[in-house]
């Protein structure tokens, strides 16, 4: 069961043009900022939007092919878990979960049993008789997961499924999604009730099969926790793709670096580092595939950047030193993230993490001059990608 998508959609001045495969049982994360085309992509997959060109196939069944084929939403076998749980307010939790099987013609008693089994699966069995209004955000989203899976979809779309949850609820739902998405084969533990469908529609398959999923998110943590592969979308195009860990740990475009929360300086690979676009040398550790003189990027974490007052003597081991000015200071979890104004080759400027105490001690505020230092050992240099990488997303 694999999902294949190759479509182009034009909406006004915006064009989405993407192609990817999600092999059976794998999860693809689509990362990108607002306006990058994530929701357009989902709408094409779900069948809400007919693309101007292209095809969507799921498990060798053509869902969209322009011109000619556009299978309606209810017959595509593609489930959706949205940002909001969207539980039907007039039904109980159990009736919500049974909605999918019932709509597909499963008899009432059997649908009820399936709903019970799925609620148990997401640890929400005790809410079965409640109304959605009586659930917390996290509980409701867990029920929504059960409902989406009870529909027996061949592929599941997850549209920022954790972004509406508060910090306390998100980890539990993330864990649940991890469990249900990443479980490859579970024929042993599953009760017979977790099979659904009647074989007539696109939903007629067993739950134990290898369902694939597309996860749209802007949070690299979700991508790392839930997805095998990622594609990074910018202005309607895939700018980077590959295994989730590799792409996020070693971003090759400034854009991916920003999503992954890393600093990135682009330039040309040099011996023991990188020559920036402005001629500045960045000392670092080149990866094995770096070729001197070829385009490359230097990547380092904000936590690896030390912040000093501007006049401080340059001592110790850090070999990368830059004098610049603070452009912004924002809370970032337990630390304060300092950003500098962007310069040539840096695009977004450099981000540095420091404790509130250091910010107070250094008297930092936007506009303050600072000296930033980074150890060469903390800087990784990778070959840059100029265009979307040719290798398919599935390859490790």
């Amino acid at each position: 069961m694999s999902l294949h998508m190759d479509v182009a959609v034009t909406r006004g001045r915006f064009t989405l043009d993407v192609a990817f495969d999600v092999p059976a049982g794998r999860v693809l994360a689509v990362l990108g900022p607002n306006g990058s085309g994530k929701s357009t992509l989902l709408q094409c997959l779900a069948g809400l939007l007919a693309p101007g060109r292209g095809t969507v196939t799921l498990d060798r069944r053509t869902l969209t092919s322009v011109p000619g084929v556009q299978v309606p939403v209810h017959d595509r076998g593609i489930g959706l878990l949205a940002q909001d749980p969207l539980l039907l307010p007039h039904l109980t939790v159990a009736e919500n979960v049974a909605f999918g099987p019932r709509s597909q013609g499963v008899p009432r008693v059997r649908a009820r049993a399936q709903a019970r089994a799925w609620l148990k699966e997401v640890d929400a069995a005790e809410f079965a008789h409640r109304r959605p209004a009586q659930l917390s955000g996290g509980q409701a989203q867990r029920v929504a997961v059960a409902r989406a899976l009870a529909g027996g979809p061949r592929a599941l779309l997850l549209d920022e499924p954790l972004s509406a949850l508060d910090v306390d609820a998100a980890p539990a739902v993330r864990g649940l999604l991890r469990r249900v998405l990443r479980r490859r084969h579970s024929r042993d533990g599953q009760s017979d009730d977790l099979r659904s469908g009647d074989g007539r529609s696109g939903y007629g398959h067993e739950v134990t099969g290898d369902r694939c999923a597309v996860l749209v998110t802007h949070d690299p943590l979700d991508a790392l926790a839930l997805a095998d592969d990622v594609v990074v979308l910018d202005a309607g195009r895939i700018v980077e793709r590959g295994p989730a860990k590799a792409v996020l740990a070693a971003p090759r475009t400034p854009f991916t670096a920003r999503i992954a929360g890393l600093n990135l300086v682009s330039g040309v690979a040099a011996e023991d580092g990188l020559r920036g676009a402005d001629g500045r040398f960045v000392a670092g550790v080149p990866s094995d595939d770096c070729v001197v003189g070829e385009p490359a990027v230097a990547v380092f974490a904000p936590g690896a950047v030390a912040v000093h007052p501007p006049g401080a003597p340059h001592t110790g081991s850090p070999r990368n030193v830059v004098d610049t000015r603070v452009s912004s200071l924002e809370p970032h979890g337990a630390v304060i993230r300092l950003r500098t104004a962007g310069e040539a080759g840096e695009e977004a400027g450099i981000a540095a993490d420091l404790t509130p105490a250091s910010v107070a001690e250094l008297g930092l505020e936007p506009g303050s001059p600072v000296r930033l230092e980074v150890k060469a050992a903390a800087v990784a240099v990778h070959p840059a990608v100029e265009s979307p990488s040719p290798f398919p997303a599935a390859e490790p």
């Binding site: 779900a46 809400l48 309606p72 939403v73 209810h74 017959d75 595509r76 076998g77 593609i78 489930g79 959706l80 949205a82 909001d84 969207l86 039907l88 307010p89 007039h90 909605f99 999918g100 709509s103 597909q104 409902r147 989406a148 529909g151 027996g152 979809p153 779309l157 529609s201 696109g202 939903y203």
Partner: protein, 299 residues
């Protein structure tokens, strides 16, 4: 203490008051209520508005008061239980109920189509649907007469084919009332449909529900509150219908003379009787609002 609080309130921005400190015991008493009061104070209601607002309220309330003052309470029971009054009341309730049912049966699908269908024609249709809202009812009645009357093209057809004549029958009353009342239902339903969006419908579809299942199990249940208030509005409008009814259905006692028509007829002959019947209409209207209070009136 209170005065000091007053001066402090002027000096300290309300945002700076630690609202979460209110329940704590360490905070001096009186501070909790004070912060609650400052929060509840309307941030900026220009006092000038009170004058036209008061005038508007007077315009609504005073005529009713005038009616109440003018009522001859001694003759009231006798006037209200007269044969003509009772038959008009019964006819009004029956026809208003029937037209409300017609409004729901026809108006719900129309509202759903208007809210959900895409296409260039839909905007035009929406404007046409609102026509009875802005049209003088008398004109609506005339239009109905020229459609369904003996000389109207549909009326002629009905007469020749089925031997049926619609005008000046109770059916004509129901048609006239439905004509003027339906836009109320359609407008309130369409607003609700647009407000709620299609997110629930979409989720239901991704669960494998066909469009008809989605309509039956998602759209309609979600629409019920708006349907309730829309139906009440339509019922009230149908109950008060006068212009279209008298033009299209005439004023035949027991057949087409509804309560408003009876009030009008009595106003020429016996003013006391007209006032009593008017009072009855007001009572019915108040009961309708109280029993099935439309959401629109709540907010």
């Amino acid at each position: 203490m209170a005065r000091r609080d007053g001066t402090r309130r002027g000096a300290v921005p309300t945002d700076a008051v630690p609202t979460d400190a209110a329940p704590s015991e360490a905070v001096p008493t009186g501070r909790g209520p004070r912060s609650r009061r400052t929060r509840n104070r309307n941030p900026g209601l220009p006092w000038v508005l009170w004058i036209p607002a008061g005038l508007a309220l007077a315009l609504v309330v005073l005529p009713v008061v005038g009616l109440l003052v003018r009522t001859d309470y001694a003759r009231l029971p006798e006037l209200l239980t007269s044969g003509a009054a009772l038959s008009a009341l019964r006819l009004s309730l029956v026809t208003a109920l029937l037209s409300t049912i017609a409004c729901v049966v026809l108006g719900v699908p129309l509202a759903v189509v208007l809210a959900r269908a895409r296409g260039r024609g839909v905007r035009l249709v929406r404007a046409v649907v609102l026509l009875p809202l802005v049209l003088p009812p008398v004109v609506g009645g005339l239009a109905l007469l020229f459609l369904l009357g003996r000389n109207g093209f549909l009326g002629y057809l009905l007469d020749v084919v089925a031997g049926v004549s619609v005008p000046f029958t109770t059916t004509a009353v129901v048609i006239a009332q439905t004509f003027v009342a339906m836009p109320f239902l359609v407008v309130s339903l369409e607003g609700a449909l647009r407000g709620s969006g299609q997110r629930y419908e979409l989720v239901a579809a991704t669960l494998g529900a066909r469009p008809w299942t989605v309509f039956r199990r998602v759209t309609v249940p979600l629409l019920l509150p708006a349907l309730g208030s829309g139906a009440v509005l339509s019922f009230a409008r149908a109950l008060g219908e006068f212009g279209a009814t008298i033009t299209f259905a005439g004023s035949l006692e027991g057949v087409t003379r509804t309560l408003p028509l009876e009030v009008y007829a009595q106003a020429q002959a016996d003013v006391d009787s007209a006032v009593a019947l008017a009072l009855l209409l007001i009572v019915v209207a108040v009961v309708v609002i109280a029993v099935a209070r439309p959401k629109a009136f709540d907010r």
